[in-house]
């Protein structure tokens, strides 16, 4: 929010006034020109220090006198300078303080403005009196005094000037230089807004500001930014004020605490900066500093939070940052030292406490004004962040564990612990019955966590886990399949775990109930019939799981083996063709034998001595009819088997191929918390047999 631009009307007016004074006065009257500028200091005094310094330097060039020279000049004047001069000197000291941060200038400003105590009937004097003292209170971190000065400023100056200003405005006199200090109202609004919203935070005043929430509410009610003729929208703090107000009154408030709201805003600003640096520079020193500042700001906000509502708002954000850091560690392969004093377990405790209040006490924790809907939304939001931070942490450790380093087992253990931690939360609040306080994505997340535990265990001890560990992995894979049966790779993972235990033959027996549940699912059927999101993919997977052979393919084959499987089918067909040929030949020979036998039966009886048989005959020895018949029967059975195999494969392979083409569903659900299929997964979870807790 640049304060330096805009304000065309008053800016022009100042320039005109200054020019007139300059033109009329000799160069030696430079201090009088400064006086003109200082009388309008309420227009520019809230500028950022750099912009303010540039403005003052510009005035110095115009007048040929620096602000310091003006202050020195006025200090040397012996006689009582009078009310206006005292005020101008006080303002000059304040401006110096605001550009240099000099405590000495601030003290001088306070001393000068204190001299106006007997002249506070004039609003202009009163404004600067409280405004300067408010800055002094900020400088020394005195929240009590700061609040008093700002309230005095509002009730003692603003309230009294508003009505005359409205009148002048109605009569189009508000731009007249002769209407007095009331014309300054739009600028005074801006100055007060900036003092409370921005300056207080820059000066590190994070506590004790709550009574000033009323001033923020006043400013937001048709005051700040309501005079674009005086202050253009882009130069006004209106937008920021609206955001603060929305947070102050919204469900992420801490019972309407301004201190908390501002602290959380500050933390979010630092968080945004840290996130930007992380994306552009990785774990550079600047990034690490920004992360530390951000974490510190979140700590400050948490200290201000007096309600679980406020703590939830902080943890919801800080967990996001934790998750981002773990994701960056995994992505960048770096593990910088960062002390983060926030624990996922504490977020779970907050969730537990708020969940405990579900039957009516929730209002007591800060949600009274926002209603149950806000309470439910906040709890779901917190859960989702717990989920995400947990998984980011777990996946970082899993990736580290898979690197096969010295700490592999330790990392795999850590990954499994994170996943199991989520499952514990899930089992406590979501597994047994639908819970409106838990997001729909929790069920897919439970599948992901179960699979994660299985994966971590399977890779334990260099991929040679103990039998007991394998059993645990298998149990987790089975659970994951029950929760989300549409991840093809999970079936293969289960098959591998069974294979490691020498139980691969049990794969179909273990997985068949899951496949049957998919086939029976009324929710899934309705979903597909209604053509809802990803219905086609789900239909393909459902049809695939209705075929045992496809289930076996899921377990023991993958896309790379599809060609091989198709070649296998061709081979079967070739074998069947060969069999058919062989069978035809056998039948032909049988027929010939039978004919031969029939012919023999019709011939005269054989002579007493048989003719000699040539030992050199090239005719192979002919089987008899029984042998040929037996052989033919064997071939018929073989052909029947082949036909069954071919028929099954002809049916299964296209389904498997189709299922292989279903990609991206897992990724979509992982990345989109509001993906509609989460709702289906949740409904399907309660169509299954009831599960035991933990």
């Amino acid at each position: 929010m640049a304060w330096n631009g805009g304000m065309a009307n008053l800016g022009t007016r100042i320039a005109v006034v200054a020019w007139v004074v300059c033109a009329l006065a000799a160069p030696s009257r430079a201090s009088e020109t400064w006086s003109a500028y200082l009388d309008y200091a309420f227009v520019y005094s809230s500028a950022e220090p750099k912009a303010l310094r540039e403005r003052l330097e510009g005035y110095a060039r115009e007048t040929g006198m620096t602000l310091e020279e003006f202050r020195s000049d006025r200090r040397q004047e012996g006689a009582d300078p009078g009310e206006a001069e005292r005020r101008r000197l006080a303002v000059a000291h304040l401006l110096d303080y605001l550009t240099t941060g000099s405590a000495e200038s601030l003290t001088s400003a306070v001393r000068a403005v204190d001299a106006l105590e007997d002249r506070l009937t004039r609003h202009e004097n009163r404004y600067w009196y409280h405004y300067i003292r408010a800055h002094e209170a900020l400088h020394y971190g005195d929240a009590k005094r700061f609040v008093n000065e700002v309230l005095a400023l509002w009730f003692g100056v603003i309230v009294e000037l508003e009505a005359p200003y409205e009148t002048y405005q109605t009569l189009s006199l508000d731009h007249s230089a002769r209407v007095g200090f009331a014309a300054a109202i739009p600028y005074l609004y801006e100055n007060i807004a900036r003092l409370v919203l921005i300056r207080s935070q820059q000066m590190g005043l994070h506590a004790g500001l709550d009574p000033l929430a009323v001033v923020i509410r006043f400013l937001g009610d048709g005051r700040l930014g309501a005079y674009p003729d005086a202050i253009p929208a882009e130069a006004s703090a209106r937008e920021y004020l609206e955001r603060v107000l929305a947070r102050l009154e919204g469900p992420e408030s801490d019972g309407g605490s301004l201190s908390f709201t501002l602290a959380l805003f500050e933390a979010a600003k630092h968080h945004d900066r840290a996130r930007g640096l992380l994306a552009s520079e990785g774990f550079s020193e600047a990034t690490l500093d920004a992360v530390r500042v951000s974490i510190g700001a979140y700590e400050t906000a948490l200290r201000q939070a007096r309600t679980l509502q406020g703590q939830t708002a902080v943890y919801t954000r800080v967990l996001r940052q934790l998750g981002e850091l773990y994701a960056a560690r995994q992505r960048l392969g770096e593990d910088p030292k960062l002390d983060v004093p926030f624990r996922i377990d504490r977020a779970k405790e907050i969730f537990a406490a708020l969940h405990e209040a579900r039957d009516g006490e929730w209002g007591r924790h800060g949600y009274l004004e926002h209603g149950r809907e806000a309470y439910v939304r906040a709890l779901r939001g917190l859960w989702e962040e717990i989920q995400e931070a947990t998984f980011n942490a777990a996946e970082y450790y899993l990736a580290e564990g898979l690197r096969d380093g010295q700490r592999a087992n330790e990392d795999l253990n850590a990954a499994a612990r994170f996943y199991a931690g989520y499952l514990e939360l899930f089992d406590t609040y979501a597994a047994d019955q639908p819970n409106e306080l838990v997001p729909e994505s929790a069920y897919f997340a439970a599948y992901w966590a179960s699979k994660g535990v299985g994966d971590a265990i399977l890779h334990f001890a260099g991929g040679n886990p103990s039998t007991r560990q394998l059993e645990e992995a298998i149990a987790h894979y089975e659970r994951a399949l029950r929760l989300f049966p549409f991840d093809r790779k999970l079936w293969a993972a289960l098959a591998l775990a069974l294979e490691r235990q020498g139980r691969e033959s049990q794969f179909l027996r273990v997985t068949k109930p899951v496949a049957e549940r998919v086939a029976r699912s009324a929710s899934l059927d309705t979903w597909i019939r209604q053509g809802r999101k990803d219905a086609r993919a789900l239909d393909v997977l459902r049809r695939a799981l209705s075929e045992d052979l496809v289930i076996l393919y899921f377990g023991f084959a993958d896309a790379s083996r599809l060609d091989e499987l198709e070649r296998g089918l061709e081979e079967l067909r070739a074998r069947r063709d060969a069999l058919t040929t062989e069978m035809a030949e056998l039948e032909r020979r049988l027929e010939a034998l039978r004919n031969e036998r029939a012919a023999l039966a019709n011939e005269p009886p054989l002579p007493a001595s048989l003719p000699a048989v040539s030992s050199t005959s090239s005719e192979p020895p002919r089987s008899g009819i029984p042998e040929l018949t037996r052989r033919l029967e064997e071939l018929v059975r073989a052909q029947e088997r082949l036909d069954r195999q071919i028929e099954a494969r002809e049916q299964a392979l296209p389904l498997f191929r189709e299922a292989l083409d279903v990609e991206g569903l897992v990724e979509a659900l992982l990345t989109q918390r509001d993906h509609p299929v989460h709702g289906l997964v949740r409904r399907m979870a309660f169509e299954s047999e009831p599960r035991s807790r933990r």
Partner: protein, 177 residues
Amino acid sequence: MTHGRHTPALAGAILALACGGGCATGEYYESRPAVIESRSHADGQVLAQRKLKMRRAQRDLVHLRATLQNLRRHRDAAGLDRLAPFVRTYLGDYVSELLSRESGAWHPELVPLDANLLFAAAAVRMELGDRLELERLIGEIEQRFQDSQSLLVEYPIGEQSTLGQALEALKRERWKI
């Protein structure tokens, strides 16, 4: 540049009109019969200004009440101690002036605003725990609006009800102090 040193005559005249000649602090709520006066000089601009001020004051009282409520719920005694004196002065000086029928800017069109402002002031007094002032406001409402029970007012804060219902609600709630 000497702005503010000499208030122009015109501005002075406007100010005098805006204040209706009654800017001096008077009795908070004068006991006046609920007769609506219409004065010729209260028409036009001054009336418009008065309406604007009354509406704004009513909204500001709602903001004050919300902030006081937040502080109370936070058990922020220090915050309450800091804000309360300013609120009492605001009610005692500024709001009482707006509610005064002595101010010379009275008009029938101000009746609903008057009622709403009284209820908003009462709500703030309740939040402050100012039992006596609350009783005075209730008495004032009864006296001013004994024949206007069906007038719609914004009380409880954030809701609308007839003045009769609102007054009953206010009387019930006063015992919470």
